[in-house]
Symmetry: C2
Subunit: 337 residues, 2 copies
């Protein structure tokens, strides 16, 4: 990629205004195939819808899922100065080291489901600005982060999961959700890594002040003002996946908040995305409802890193394997009901 | 195994009365390990409980899950003479051929999750008796089926899934559930492979008549009178797994009905079992509630074959991989909150 794909927010917005659709012929052929596989109609439930959705984006009636990519983006947040997290900010860099050495949950899940994993640290030594006082990033800053995500996507991947690590980033996600969908901070904040009641009240107040300070912006400027770099990078990667027709499994609250920016900027921008799970972070279910996404898993995870989405790779692999590998009634000589 | 493990129902009952427990020391050591892994406390939600449960049954603080076994049992049912299924009975044998040639959903799921799969046909040419007229099996018949399941379990496996194929077997499962837990046929029957409203009413009536005819029996004789051979084989395999301390993932309505016989015979007999999913067959959720089991997945499957449980192997593999593979705070040099 010799030229940058975009260098201003209006250029990025222009890409979002012109996103490709799924291959309707492939989806139709997959629907027909699904109807003649050796099972009662509908007996694989949601797996059937998933396989047809995946077939449409991959442009094949009987697609494969062999090359999932997981990217974990890490960023630091000036808003941690407001006391919104139970963990100190240096944990972000410590966890990046843990990712690189293979010791985190996401490493084990990538191994389990055969996903290629990479970690991208985004200027950890220079946290974004405290967004209760000024915009988190200037335009050059948010563009750099969007591009980091955009360029990290492997165009040969056949599935993308983006995860994050960033002490303070549930506050950023809550502020973005409040700004995009309305409702006050108390309705969008949760305990993140585990703050107490007092911390929770402080976090809600931080969100309310930040949203008031940066009100009246469009979705992309909301991301610039309230985001962290890892949220912008996730949005950039999810947009790039769409351009490459790579399906995406969304992770938890922070990933979904970052993705919501794209949907608010351009309705349908997340049609290539499925919700991997619903997090224990209370506002995640609310955010998914706004997006009309039904989660695949509900297991009380609230770790981030892409962990819930990575776990859902197994479900999607199962769906695609059944769809593409099963015999038809005619092939197997089985009587139809 | 030179001698049969049991040759009468009282002998089988004696085994159930003396089942081994999980290794409490291993579970305690796993709980301690879980508390120092590089994640906020509880952030992996249900995966943490699952890993600790698995560790207890495997007797290791940091266990592996490398050798899952899936066994699909097939049987034919005299009760199909009552018109309770949308598919003809010959489909059982046709699907067994499909399993053997690798064309069914369960074959693809076993490949996806690295499970060893075998198929066991149980006298398909000789259906059980129509249990609206007489007991489905005599004692020798139910013992043979229980033993077929018992002996099919690989003692070296570290996880067991049992699935089934048997046209008519949702009727058998509904009758067993009604006999064990009370409630009339209408509350326990569903559409199975897809019968219409008239068929559904007929199925409920068949269940009510069968349960009335065979009332007042203990759980094991209920299995003999209302079961099919594949249900008895599943019960035998689940009991054997317990004796070998092999954890089990339960599949859908039919598998859970077969397992319920063990729990009713001996409370706690299913402590080594987790519910893999909740099926679209309406009565499955009711049955799981009776057993106090919370399903891992809820994806609208209603295929049988062990498919929902096989899909849940991925979730359990993820849980065990995180638990046993993650670094501790001390190992990774990460600050605790």
């Amino acid at each position: 990629m010799p030229l940058k794909a975009f260098s201003t927010l209006p250029e990025f917005a222009a890409i979002l205004a012109d996103l490709p659709s799924a291959d309707a012929d492939a989806a139709e052929a997959a629907t027909a195939r699904n109807g003649v596989l050796t099972k009662p109609p509908g007996a694989l439930g949601r797996l059937e819808e998933l396989a047809i959705w995946y077939a449409g984006w991959r442009g094949a009636a009987a697609p494969v899922l062999e090359k999932p990519q997981v990217i974990v983006f890490a960023g630091n947040h000036g808003v941690t100065a407001q006391g919104v997290s139970a963990f100190p900010a240096e944990v972000t860099a410590q966890m990046v080291m843990n990712f690189e050495l293979g010791g985190a949950a996401i490493n084990q899940l990538c191994k389990t489901f055969g996903a290629e994993m990479s970690v991208l640290s985004l200027d950890l030594d220079e946290p974004t600005q405290d967004f209760t006082a000024e915009p988190a990033m200037d335009e050059a800053g948010v563009i750099a982060a969007l591009l980091a995500g955009w360029e990290a996507v492997d165009p040969q991947a056949d599935l993308l999961v983006v995860g994050e690590m960033g002490i303070g980033n549930t506050t950023s996600a809550a502020a973005i959700a409040s700004a995009l969908f309305g409702g006050n901070g108390a309705g969008w904040v949760g305990r993140g890594t585990g703050i107490d009641d007092e911390g929770l009240a402080r976090k809600a107040d931080v969100v309310d002040r930040a949203v008031a300070l940066h009100a009246g912006q469009g979705p992309l400027d909301t991301l610039r003002c309230l985001g962290g770099r890892e949220l912008a990078a996730m949005a950039g990667a999810i947009a790039r996946a769409r351009v490459e027709r790579i399906p995406v499994i969304l992770d938890g609250f922070i990933c979904t908040a970052a993705a919501s920016v794209l949907e608010k900027e351009c309705e349908g921008a997340l049609d290539h995305c499925v919700a991997g799970h619903v997090s224990a972070e209370q506002a995640h279910a609310r955010l998914l409802a706004h997006l009309g996404k039904e989660p695949l898993l509900s297991l009380g995870l609230r770790l981030g890193e892409g962990s819930g989405a990575a776990l859902a790779i197994g479900v999607l692999k199962g769906a695609v394997a059944c769809h593409s590998g099963m015999a038809t009634f005619a092939e197997a000589g089985v009587s139809e009901g």
